[in-house]
């Protein structure tokens, strides 16, 4: 049984990583689009960020070095990622539900990281669980894990309630949406119950992590806790297969779309990609395009449209 549980956890983690990377690669490999930025762009000079300005506010902007502030981007991104700042400002009722849900997930992720750290420390005998930093980290992991479970379940229930009770959302809600939120409630709920109600002396989260990393199949994990862990693992594997993987999408919607204000002039790499796109042969059917499958984008753009009747 323990081997099976370890295998499920490993497979779920691998699925999560592979599916997330595949999704990210798919977006990263999609063609460089025409510029479509949206202001404010936080890597601009701080004075400009205040009012949402851009380098287009500078006379002969192409003669002036561009300002790019990573600090500016981080100042925007950190509150956005941790506290969903934009949602708080634009949709407070939803934020009250969404923030605990997301923050709970962050706490859970932190808990897992801490458990891995402590378990690794034990294995390589750097930080034994019985002394030094180990117990502190373990305590933190337990606190983050339990509060993360509570917040996420609470948030998921609140989101589910909103989706079911708000008439304006009903027409847009699919069975999959309901399932997704229920899956969080059930998987995290089972994990929490299994953990809290396990018999005294039986393995907890750290023992399971230790066992997993050292592939110790001798430990006996209580049935309800094991069921919770399997459900949580399945959820982890499922997330990147759905639109809930917006933690990946958000990188691209911000960095590659909203904030991509790089002029093409002087950017050889981008220019080379664009030169390739201009050789593509579109097949749009409307007469005025004149795309017969043999003409390239460059040829079409250089030509006059055919007169067509509309």
């Amino acid at each position: 049984m323990t081997v099976l549980l370890y295998s499920v956890i490993c497979a779920a983690a691998a699925t999560f990583v592979v599916a997330s990377v595949a999704r990210a690669v798919r977006y990263a490999r999609s063609p460089l689009h025409l510029r479509w930025e949206l202001y404010p762009v936080p890597h601009e000079a701080p004075k400009r960020v205040e009012h949402g300005g851009s380098y287009f506010e500078t006379s002969e902007w192409w003669t002036v070095p561009r300002h790019f502030s990573l600090v500016g981007e981080l100042r925007f991104m950190i509150p956005e990622m941790l506290f969903l700042k934009g949602l708080r400002e634009s949709n407070r009722p939803l934020w009250y539900r969404s923030f605990p849900f997301h923050f709970g997930l962050y706490l859970l992720a932190c808990s897992v990281m801490l458990l891995l750290l402590v378990a690794l420390g034990t294995i390589v005998q750097l930080a034994p669980t019985t002394g030094g930093l180990g117990p502190v980290l373990h305590g933190l992991a337990a606190f983050a894990g339990l509060s993360g479970l509570a917040l996420s379940i609470l948030g998921a229930c609140a989101l589910l309630h909103r989706r079911m009770s708000d008439a304006s959302l009903r027409s847009y809600t699919t069975a999959g949406d309901v399932f997704n939120l229920l899956a969080f409630v059930v998987a995290l709920g089972l994990t929490g119950i299994g953990y809290l109600l396990r018999p005294e002396g039986s393995p907890g989260a750290l023992a399971v992590t230790n066992g997993l990393l050292s592939w110790d199949t001798a430990i006996i994990i209580p049935g309800p806790f094991a069921v919770g862990l399997v459900a949580a693992a399945a959820l982890v594997a499922y997330i990147p297969l759905t639109h809930m993987s917006h933690f990946i999408a958000k990188y691209f919607t911000y960095h590659a779309v909203r904030w991509d204000d790089t002029p093409i002039s002087g950017n050889e790499k981008k220019a080379a990609r664009l030169a390739e796109y201009l050789t593509y042969k579109p097949t749009w059917s409307a007469g005025h395009i004149g795309a017969d499958g043999t003409r390239t984008w460059a040829e079409i753009a250089s030509s006059s449209p055919a007169e067509t009747k509309r």
């Binding site: 009012h51 069975a175 409307a286 795309a291």
Partner: protein, 533 residues
């Protein structure tokens, strides 16, 4: 209004509109306005020959009316073919990445709805919700492009694809101003404005369906004769010469527009509509540039004298063709830079969107008139007397220049320098509201579309204007709405006229350069005229 419209209604086989707006549904205005000249009533009286499947009481497209199931099937096949192309690299590399991200990650949380001026003004009409048309497209994408089976249907939902859906989706793509205020508030970064843009492209590029004002009398005419106004090079030169004469007389300074000057520092490209509708605008440019000693020229090349690029709103091929001609005109004259006059979408077209199309020596430096004008005003090269503009002035922020380009402060620096009673609307800058005429609406006039524009899409802007002047609505006090964009200016003109606000409250509108010239001490007083036009 208790709007019960559902997503599935888009496929309904009924000739009744999905939405019948009543004036009582609309958000109230801060002051009583006279009854509308033409109430929001059924306008899209279906012409003979088949069902038209309207979405509401107006219409901008002329759609085919299939008479037989076979004709319907052909149209649906064409739509599906366009849908596939919209998601293919070869056909839509231009916007594929942001479109995929929006299709695959919208959480349908409706945060964007509250940001949309059309949704708000309509009292929350479901079909105007930014996610309505997007969700229909999303379901079609997963069903037909990703070939989703039962699992996909369960996860993403389904919608019945038939001709009523296709016809309504086409029309719904023109109930969005593409101002992208919704995208600004999306917690994930999804862009429902982009969805409307891409739908327009699908219909134009695959089925040849687009509003005649944008296509036949827009980009096609521009590529044929040089301007969407219909002016060829000879006509535009004649008109500008006439304007020069008028302005010389009016301003008391010699105004002469240079044409086709090789090696000039600046190629100025106006929205040619200004030359016909508001000649004082190109006239004011001439006065300022000459007085400041700028080396400038206009071009008589095809499209070189008209900065509009309607392709931005509906068709990538038309967009690229016009942008290329603008760049070629500048290259031929060997100018140092192109400066775009008071036209928001022309700014975004040539400075931003075309940037990745104009490769090599066609990527000629391009700048907004706002920075040029700001430098002239602040440099002291003009002798200015701000007391000549001592009346309440507010500024409308054109979405294309501000939210979509980040040009926010130069226009304010100018106004603070020349208008002692300058005041801001709320909200403004990158959080502004669209005038309601964006994405070509300002030039669309079929059926009852002007009524819809004045009552629905322009309503939020009207509320802002009335709010900002609420302390001085007395008609003895003239007031000025500065709209440094030709389309916005046309829409604000129509809003003020429709609601009779010039007659009742003396609210005038105009551009930015006119205010600068009005403050020039060397110019005869009274350049800004307090007469309705």
């Amino acid at each position: 209004m208790k709007d019960q419209t559902r997503l599935s209604d888009i496929s309904r086989r009924s000739n009744d509109p999905l939405l019948r707006l009543d004036e009582t549904d609309l958000t109230p205005l801060p002051i009583d306005t006279p009854p509308s000249h033409r109430p929001l009533s059924p306008s899209a009286a279906p012409s003979a020959g088949g069902a038209s499947y309207p979405v509401d009481d107006t219409r901008v497209l002329t759609l085919p009316k299939p008479q037989t199931p076979a004709e319907e099937a052909d149209l649906i096949r064409a739509f599906l073919s366009g849908l596939e192309k919209l998601f293919s690299r070869e056909n839509n590399w231009t916007f594929l990445q942001p479109l995929l991200l929006t299709m695959e990650h919208c959480a349908r949380c409706h945060t964007c709805s509250d940001a949309c001026h059309i949704f708000e003004a309509s009292g929350g009409a479901e079909i105007y919700r930014p996610t309505y048309r997007s969700e229909v497209l999303r379901r079609l994408y997963f069903q037909h492009v990703r070939s989703g089976g039962l699992l996909s249907a369960w996860q993403h939902g389904t919608v019945e694809l038939n001709w009523p859906l296709v016809a309504r989706l086409a029309e719904l793509a023109y109930r969005c101003n593409l101002c992208r205020r919704c995208a600004q508030t999306c917690p994930i970064g999804a862009d429902n404005g982009l969805v409307a843009h891409e739908l327009r492209k699908l219909f134009s590029q695959e089925l040849g369906i687009a509003p005649k004002e944008l296509h036949a009398s827009g980009s096609m005419l521009q590529l044929k004769v040089g301007s969407s106004t219909g002016m060829n090079a000879a006509a535009v030169k004649d008109n500008v010469q006439f304007i020069d004469g008028e302005m010389t007389e009016k301003a008391g300074l010699t105004v002469e527009t240079p044409w086709d000057v090789e090696g000039a520092d600046v190629l100025l490209i106006h929205n040619a509509g200004e030359i016909l509708a508001w000649p004082e605008n190109p006239g004011a440019f001439g006065i300022i540039l000459n007085a400041a000693g700028i080396s400038w020229t206009m071009s008589s090349e095809l499209a070189g004298y008209d900065s509009v690029n309607y392709g931005l709103w509906y068709d990538d091929a038309q967009f690229a063709r016009v942008a290329l001609r603008h760049a070629q005109a500048a290259k031929k004259l060997k100018v140092k830079k192109i400066v775009i006059g008071e036209c928001g979408h022309a700014h975004k077209s040539l400075l931003v969107i075309a940037d990745r199309l104009l490769t090599g020596d066609l990527n000629i430096p391009r700048e907004s008139f706002l920075t040029v004008l700001r430098d002239i005003v602040m440099s002291g090269r003009l002798k200015l007397d701000a007391t000549r503009n001592d009346f309440p002035v507010t500024l409308h922020d054109p979405c294309n220049m501000v939210r979509l380009m980040g040009i926010v402060e130069p226009q304010r620096e100018i106004l603070r320098a020349v208008c002692p009673q300058f005041r801001e609307m709320y909200p403004h800058g990158v959080d502004n509201y669209c005038c309601g005429g964006g994405s070509g609406f300002a030039i669309m006039s079929g059926n009852t579309f002007p009524d819809w524009r004045a009552q629905v899409s322009g309503r939020k802007k009207l509320q802002q204007i009335l709010d900002v002047f609420s302390d001085c609505l007395d008609p003895t006090q003239p007031k000025y709405v500065c709209a440094p964009c030709s389309n916005c200016k046309g829409q604000i003109r129509d809003l003020l006229a429709y609601h009779d606000l010039w007659e009742r409250h003396r609210i005038q509108y105009g551009g930015l350069v006119e205010l600068v010239v009005n403050a020039m001490a060397d110019v005869r007083p009274g350049f800004v005229e307090w007469e309705w036009r």
